[in-house]
């Protein structure tokens, strides 16, 4: 049963990483040694004063990265929570009422899933003003489909379960059935989906920002990385070590944390892997 152990280790590791990052995000003003907009001597090497040195305009990189956590996580969580809620609602509708509406929703989902969404996001971002709100809206628009599809197929399975029929038979209204019988069974899936979506958004946002389409004012890790990447002397000087690596590692760590947690959750929720042994009398 090493699988279970590994699973627990990965899960806790992931949770640990996320906990740290979330703490950093929340307490950024307390943790960060400086205001990320304050300027000091530019391109300082790491020192006791500036643990990660300063960037090309003299901002303290450590503080920038700490505040970047805020931006990145804020985008990721805002988008994934909203997208998940929308996706779950639409998935429920599509799955529960197999009418025209459901059919329509699923067609839209199929179509959206077929169109390469990141390319469309890049194209849209190119057309729109660079702001984190625009990004958030775009990500939400393209973020709910997978959830809707997964929730719908789960609802379809649940709907054919006898206990749903039973509830109907016992006099439960549709709303009652959805709230009491369908939704609670969908929630675990949705949680996993939330985690997956959050990690998608982290990567996608970092990517968009790396392309210089992020919000340059509210600097996320991707934007910090982009600035470092665009710095002409980045490869020749050693600055990549303290300017490029930290935001890069933060992105990777967040994704990793989310992946681990998502993986552990999925393993735990996957009924295939859970064998109930023996029945208690």
């Amino acid at each position: 049963m090493t699988g279970v152990k590994v699973n627990n280790v990965l899960g806790s590791l992931g949770l640990g990483i996320l906990a740290i990052l979330i703490t950093v995000a929340i307490f950024a003003p307390q943790i960060a040694p400086y205001d990320p907009h304050d300027t000091y001597k530019w391109m300082e090497r790491p020192s006791s004063e500036h643990l990660l040195g300063t960037n090309d305009v003299g901002n303290d990189i450590l503080s920038e990265v700490i505040y970047g956590t805020r931006v990145s996580l804020f985008i990721a969580f805002t988008v994934s929570i909203t997208a998940i809620i929308i996706g779950t609602a639409l998935g429920l509708i599509a799955g529960y009422s197999s009418g025209v509406l459901g059919f329509l929703i699923m067609r839209i989902v199929d179509i959206f899933l077929t169109i390469p969404r990141m390319v469309l996001i890049i194209v849209l971002a190119a057309f729109l003003t660079q702001s984190i709100w625009n990004l958030i809206v775009i990500f939400i628009i393209f973020g709910w489909m997978m959830t809707a599809r997964i929730v719908r197929s789960e609802v379809l399975t649940l709907r054919s379960q006898y206990y749903v029929d039973s509830a109907k038979m016992l006099g439960g209204s549709d709303r009652y059935i959805i709230w009491r019988h369908i939704l609670p069974n969908v929630v675990p899936l949705v949680v996993v989906q939330f985690i997956m979506e959050a990690s998608h958004v982290i990567i996608a946002e970092a990517g968009i920002s790396f392309l210089g389409l992020g919000d340059p004012v509210a600097r996320s890790w991707g934007t910090i990385f982009n600035y470092a990447f665009e710095y002409p002397n980045i490869i020749l000087s050693d600055a990549w070590m303290w300017w490029m690596l930290p935001p890069g590692l933060c992105i990777a760590a967040t994704v990793l944390g989310l992946t681990f947690v998502g993986y552990a959750l999925e393993e735990r929720l996957n009924p295939k892997l859970k064998t109930v042994v023996g029945m208690e009398a």
């Binding site: 179509i111 077929t114 169109i115 390319v119 790396f210 392309l211 490869i235 992105i251 992946t259 993986y263």
Partner: protein, 325 residues
């Protein structure tokens, strides 16, 4: 029946993509003319009302929307994706000259990462719970959580700059004269290795995990036990019975991954200055060369839709249960 349904479905998708493309600049805030003529932040275009009218007429932007739509469709049907503002060339031409590099890059990466991911996923699942499985699981999850551009940049710094093992970028040595085709091929390969490696690492995780999960559910299936009961060897069972079944979800996924790939190349091409379509999209975005951006979007989308279509067909071929419906 199935084919016709699918075909109709994909035609609808393409129609929708075309429409998105048509409405995008028209629905955006700002002057639609700016999306055709481009912008110049240093020296804004100067135009009198008259010139403006003339330009609008020239691009057919003064007509009513439905008429514009029809014109747009007619143009597209002739393969005309419009003119790039920057290159002053047909968008299609600009895409086509870069296509080979992107195809080379994504093709090579796909040809490697797909089978590799499938192989590793299958092996991992087959050895579920063992050290081998755990190790590869953790390694792959960890490595693939690095976005491709972070990974690629680190590769450039280490392998290209610090160690000097590979070139810093580009698709071949510029201006080089080759003694023979082999030399040229080697040069191209030398330039290809780092970007391909980046793409592979960035994309292998998805395939690996999917295959592993898919395989895990196959392993528990009764027909695997049944195959064992027949006395078949483990290898044979894995190859003949397990993989094909486990591949089914992968095939559906493959098309999606091709979509991801095309996006992945944007980052990799930027990092490695690889002259493909991704870099073109990036540059066009920087230059706000809207017709080119739209053209590339259209091109990639249709490419991905086609890939989906092929995957769907492959699915039918792989899963006899579907073809009967």
């Amino acid at each position: 029946m199935h084919y016709i349904n699918k075909l109709a479905y994909y035609l609808v998708i393409i129609l929708i993509i075309l429409s998105i493309n048509f409405f995008l600049p028209r629905a955006m805030p700002g002057d639609p003319l700016a999306y055709v003529l481009g912008e110049n932040p240093d020296m804004p275009i100067r135009m009198t009302e008259e010139e403006r009218e003339m330009k609008l007429a020239e691009y057919g932007l003064d007509k009513p929307l439905p008429e514009q739509y029809v014109d747009y469709m007619i143009k597209l049907s002739k393969g005309d994706l419009g003119h790039s503002i920057y290159y002053k060339n047909p968008v299609m031409d600009e895409i086509l000259i870069r296509l080979k590099w992107t195809l080379l890059l994504t093709g090579t990466a796909t040809v490697i990462y797909m089978p590799l991911g499938i192989f590793l996923g299958a092996e991992s699942a087959w050895a579920r719970g063992k050290k081998k499985d755990t190790l590869s699981l953790i390694t792959i999850l960890t490595v693939s959580s690095f976005p491709s551009f972070v990974l690629g940049t680190l590769f450039v710094i280490f392998f290209a700059f610090k160690l000097g093992l590979f070139p810093l970028g580009c698709a071949n040595t510029i201006g080089a004269t080759y003694a023979n085709p082999l030399e040229e091929a080697l040069d191209i390969l030398h330039h290809l290795i780092l970007p391909v490696a980046t793409l592979i690492i960035a994309h292998i995780g998805g395939t690996y995990l999917l295959m592993r999960n898919s395989m895990l559910s196959v392993i528990g299936a009764d027909y695997i036990l049944s195959a064992r009961a027949k006395g078949l060897s483990e290898r044979y069972i894995l190859n003949r019975h397990a993989i094909r079944n486990a591949l089914l979800p992968i095939v559906t996924m493959a098309a999606l991954t091709i979509g991801f790939m095309t996006v992945g190349t944007i980052f990799v091409e930027k990092v490695f200055a690889y002259p493909g379509i991704g870099l073109l999209l990036y540059d066009s975005v920087l230059r706000r060369d809207y017709p080119l951006i739209q053209g590339i979007f259209l091109f990639i989308s249709i490419f991905v839709v086609l890939a989906n279509f092929i995957a769907d067909m492959a699915y039918v071929w792989l899963d006899p249960r579907v073809s009967d419906e």
